[in-house]
């Protein structure tokens, strides 16, 4: 069985930041492996260790800079990586679900995996829609927000979907399928030193849109980001100032006033 894992490098934002136009100014941004994808990678690697998967391949849409993040996934045990990028993507201010679907679908079709694991959402733009959209596009089955996958996969994946309010749904999904992976499904490993060394030698295949047979016009975003701003705070929060001793004592007084602590 072959597993394809979608891996995204997400932008992280410092506590204090400034917005320039429709973007956060570069100097306040960092980069990290998407939290949800980390769990997806772990699940795939565990399936490989359990002898169920023969190969784990990652796919990323992103420029060269994100190769450090892809190497993290390789260091955790993925066998090889595909990275898709094109200069034409440089100028779009939002890569929307439709565009991601076109690109990832082309890679799914080329790789022909039995299972695609994708994070439930990306920590930066949090559309939470790409996995299901890709599944529909390539004619795979799917399950969104999966927090448990039985590791005795045959033709079906027995999963738990985490619903709201502490309820889980037990579902059987025919393969091939796309599952969007929720945090908590496993415990993502840290890359070992050996893994990090090995990752340097693993194949990282760079593809352009033309290489994967996607026309530029197909990935034109339907959505245009027209404004970005800090949310207007409706809060009338009382901020306690001073040393930790002072603020702790303010909180102490509040708890006594409310009668919840003595």
């Amino acid at each position: 069985m072959k597993i394809l894992v979608t891996v995204k490098e997400v932008a992280t934002v410092e506590d204090e930041f400034e917005i320039q136009g429709t973007e956060i100014a570069d100097q306040y941004l960092g980069a990290d492996l998407n939290e949800w994808d980390d769990y997806a990678i772990e699940e795939a690697v565990q399936l490989q260790e359990d002898g169920i998967a023969d190969e784990v391949v990652t796919v990323t849409i992103g420029p060269e800079e994100c190769e450090q993040t892809i190497r993290q996934a390789l260091a955790k045990g993925a066998d090889r990586a595909v990275r898709v990028w094109d200069d034409s993507l440089e100028d779009t201010n939002v890569l929307d679900v439709g565009a991601k679907t076109e690109i990832l679908s082309a890679v799914v079709e080329a790789e022909d995996p039995d299972l695609v694991l994708s994070g439930v959402q990306a920590g930066d733009d949090s559309f939470a829609a790409t996995g299901v959209s890709v599944a529909e596009n390539v004619g795979y089955q799917w399950g969104a927000v999966v927090n448990h996958l039985e590791h005795d996969l045959g033709d079906v994946a027995s999963v738990r979907r985490e619903l709201e309010g502490g309820v889980e749904e037990l579902t059987e999904i025919e393969l091939p399928a796309v599952l969007t992976i929720q945090t908590g499904i496993n415990e993502p490993r840290y890359a070992s030193l050996r893994g990090i060394r090995q990752a340097q030698r693993k194949e990282l295949d760079v593809q352009s849109l033309a290489d994967i047979g996607v026309d530029e016009s197909a990935i034109e975003a339907d959505l245009e980001l027209t404004d970005m701003y800090e949310p207007e705070s409706e809060s009338d929060v009382t901020v306690w100032e001073g040393s930790a001793e002072d603020t702790a004592s303010e909180l102490g007084d509040l708890l006594r006033d409310k009668g919840v602590a003595q």
Binding site: T12, D15, E16, I24, V94, D96, V97, G98, G123, D124, D125, S126, F127, A129, G131, V132, S133, A135, E136, W142, A144, R161, E162, L163, E164, G165, G166, V167, E168, E169, L170, E174, A177, T183, G184, D222, L223, E224, T226, D227, M228, Y229, E230, P231, S233, S235, V237, V239, W240, A244, E245, A248, S249, E250, L251, G252, L254, K258, V260, A261
Partner: protein, 317 residues
């Protein structure tokens, strides 16, 4: 004149609150597009649901009787057929776990753009302006798109529709292709039971990722002991296996309503806030003065938890 099609959510015999909020969002959009608001309810006791959804502002309700519970293939087929029949401008669904299990699929199937987790919507002619958050709520963005679209709405952002409407309730005869159903729900399970019921507590000391390491959790346990409070947490703490699932506050955890909720090192992501915003008094201890939790906190300490918590323990020992 362009119509709106809103698809209700229900589970185990109950309509979910967001379904009534969806009616409000859908009505507002229909007023802007000058069209009708159509509501669809699929599977389960649809007639009973239709009566409940018949609130002010709903023009038509379409019931699709097929199976008991949510199945994304049934929903996808029913909604795409309704779309073909009604030709609405926007299909609107909740941004719920189930909404996210079929809305992207119908968008793709119908070749429509999708914009998820919206917190504000405005339609002007052919243009939709959708407001949503990025970076865990640190910024808000407006997003424009032209033409028809699928939109999912965040729960608790629109008020629930009230009153009684005079909608035409009609059974929609969807042609469900059983062979195209590739997944089967076999059951449900409640998780997170156990020794402590955090929803009963008067005082919750709740810890988030700011605690950094499992060892540091002892500090928070000491605080809970000193205050005689109950310990709860945000999701990452439970994901890491540092606390059991029954301590998780939030959308996929428990809803809590204590007299005082102390959020320590918790950013206040929407899924967390969903579980604790009903607390009487909210106190946030967080180094980031702009963390989203500040929007709902009554009192805040913008400081390092490792400095503040020991002081607080000392006060009560």
């Amino acid at each position: 004149m362009s119509d709106i099609l809103a698809v209700a959510d229900h589970r185990r015999g109950d309509l979910r609150d967001v379904s009534y909020e969806l009616v409000t969002a859908g009505r507002e959009l229909a007023d802007e597009t000058g069209g009708d608001l159509h509501v669809a309810v699929i599977s389960g006791t649809v007639d009973e649901f239709a009566e409940k959804l018949n609130r002010e502002g709903v023009d038509a309700i379409h019931t699709v009787s097929h199976g008991e519970e949510f199945n994304h293939d049934v929903y996808s087929q029913a909604v795409t057929q309704l779309y073909d029949e009604l030709a609405p401008q926007y299909v609107v669904t909740p941004n719920s776990v189930n909404g996210l299990d079929y809305a992207p699929a119908i968008a793709n199937e119908l070749d429509l753009p999708i914009v998820t987790d919206t917190i504000g919507l405005e339609a002007d002619g052919d243009t939709l302006v959708a407001t949503r958050e990025m970076y865990g709520g640190k910024v808000e963005t407006t997003n424009e798109l032209e033409g028809d679209a699928v939109v999912t709405i965040r729960g608790a952002e629109w008020p629930a529709a009230e009153g009684t409407g005079d909608a035409a309730i009609e059974a929609f005869d969807a042609d469900i292709d059983e062979d195209a159903i590739g997944s089967t729900v076999t059951g449900f399970e409640e998780v997170g039971g156990g020794d402590v019921d955090i929803s009963e507590a008067d005082l919750l000391v709740s810890i988030g990722r700011g605690i950094e390491e499992e060892e540091n959790l002892d500090l928070i346990r000491d605080l809970a002991d000193a205050l005689d409070a109950t310990l709860s947490s945000s999701r990452p703490i439970v994901d890491n296996g540092w606390l059991p699932k029954n301590r998780q506050v939030g959308q996929s955890g428990k809803v809590v309503t204590p007299d005082v909720y102390i959020a320590i090192g918790i950013s206040g992501a929407v899924q967390h806030v969903a579980g604790m915003k009903g607390s009487d008094t909210i106190v946030a201890i967080n180094t980031d003065p702009n963390a989203p939790i500040m929007d709902i906190a009554d009192y805040a300490i913008h400081d390092d938890l490792f400095d503040v918590v020991p002081e607080l323990i000392e006060e009560f020992q």
